[in-house]
Amino acid sequence: MTTTTPRRSGGLGRVLIAVYGLLALAATGRSVYQILSEFDHAPLAYSLSALAGVVYIVATIALLAPGDTWYRVAWVTISFELVGVLVVGLLSVLDPILFTEKAVWSFFGRGYAFVPLVLPILGMLWLYRHRPRPATADAPTVVPAGTV
């Protein structure tokens, strides 16, 4: 059965994508700098930050790109981020030595104003509201940009 996937990049989704893009830039840029200049301080935290940054980049692209495959990629990457921020956030509270404050996911993203914690949840709500529907449905549910 074919399905139609509503456009995810319209309306409020634009803002979500812009914020994802910013976080991708911030996490990737900062962790690359940290790995180059002070990797020995916190190798695990900085490596995870770099991984998080790359996943944010993929998530940003997946939210922008149309189609069912990218929809699944968006779910996978955004779920990965939520699990990452929850697990690393918890570990950093239990063992503050292990994770530095300056990493993306440490202390539930406190160094990034908790954006890494809130964003995956908003992303999942957005994806759920724009889930694929059977193509046989009588009217497409594509919402024109600017009306949401």
Binding site: G11, L12, R14, V15, A18, V19, L22, L25, G29, Y33, S37, A113, A145, G146
Partner: protein, 122 residues
Amino acid sequence: MIEWFTLVQVAVACAAGLLCVVLGLAGRTPADITNGATALVEVLLIGQLVVAIVAPLTGNTPTGSSLEFWVYLVTALLLPALAIFWGLVERNRWSTVILGVACFAVAVMVFRMHQIWFVQLA
């Protein structure tokens, strides 16, 4: 880096961010006032660029990493320009909100630049 100029810049960027987000959520498309506010943030960043080039020549050097400082400054310079460009291409209210998001991001980045220049913990 000049401390009062930097703090004024953070305040202006926050005010511009708030203005754009509020007007955007109120349904306005990018207009002279919101584009102008974002452009003002960009002009102040260019001022900061000049200060960052001149200040070390007068003995005012960053206490932290100047590489990290410059990565922030160059990235911050790109954001308002990209957001204004986005708003010119796509004319709806969300582009106005994105102008505000860019301004807030600049405020955070300038604050980080301030920390790198003046404050070293640990």
